[in-house]
Amino acid sequence: MSAPTEFTLWEVFVQEKSGAPHTHVGSIHAADAELALQNARDTFARRDKLVSIWVVEAERIVASRPEDAAGLFEPGPAKVYRHPRFYRPANPKQKR
């Protein structure tokens, strides 16, 4: 019985149309980048029309830790001045 082989784990991101963001759809195993791209295409592009696929070795992804979430991420609407609605242009009807 031969020794078990561990293929590298890759995360797959796909873009459904030009201009759209790449979305994470899952992961696959492959020994190298070319096989990873082909495997990703064979697994995730069978039904959906895609324009682009990214594959990234899972261990290269740097992620925030869940326990840091409170410090890293503020609750959304708290800093009002970051949102467009806070800003009101001068009344455009005013004419000199």
């Binding site: 293929f7 195993h29 020994a31 096989l35 082909q38 495997n39 064979d42 697994t43 069978r46």
Partner: protein, 251 residues
Amino acid sequence: MSAALVECLLRLGDDGLVLGHRLSEWIGFAPVLEEELALGNIALDNLDLAQAALGLAAELEARGRDADALAYFRDEAQFRNALLVEQPNVDFAWTIARQALFDAFALPNYRALEASAEPRLAAIAAKAAKETEYHARHARTWVLRLGDGTDQSRARMQAAFDELFPYLGELLEADATSRELAAAGLAPDPSALADEALATIAALMREATLVQPAPGAFRPRGGRSGRHSEHLGRMLAEMQVLARAHPGARW
């Protein structure tokens, strides 16, 4: 002219059907789960082509048959596939070598067929050409990994090419039918595809650190005129058994 065109479509369709069937034999047994999907996709593309080409052939011959009648109720001697595609899946390297050799012919063949004087054939070929680019890429990827992988994989990949390379010749030879088709602008002369096909294989084998087999006395021919190897009969026995057990039934 219609008769030659029907022959052309039978060759195209039968190549697709037999190759698609052979690839489908891997389902459930592929060496890696990811390859189940890859081989499955290539099989499906070939079966789609078969269905389209045989369907058009049936329509043009106007004998009341359809694609299924051609697929399931013809005997070996009436099949027009090349001998290469009926060779069995001895191992994964054989399947990859068979694919690489077939695609070396098929890709330029489909591209040339896009200019066929018969627009429906041109449309079938256009779709097949796009899909075959991917099949060829997949085969090439594995030839490189198996050829330049471990000693065992190189030995198997070399053995597969040694056995299957002689079958490429049949795909790249003209005959009376292909000359008639070329003269009518319906299909390319296969011998005109030879340079490109052979160059593709030579480059691929070199890059994979494999040795291209020298031509020998073994030059298998006959598939295009219905003289097949022992493999096709057994393959068709399995493929056709259920349909033939219920003639006239709808599924």
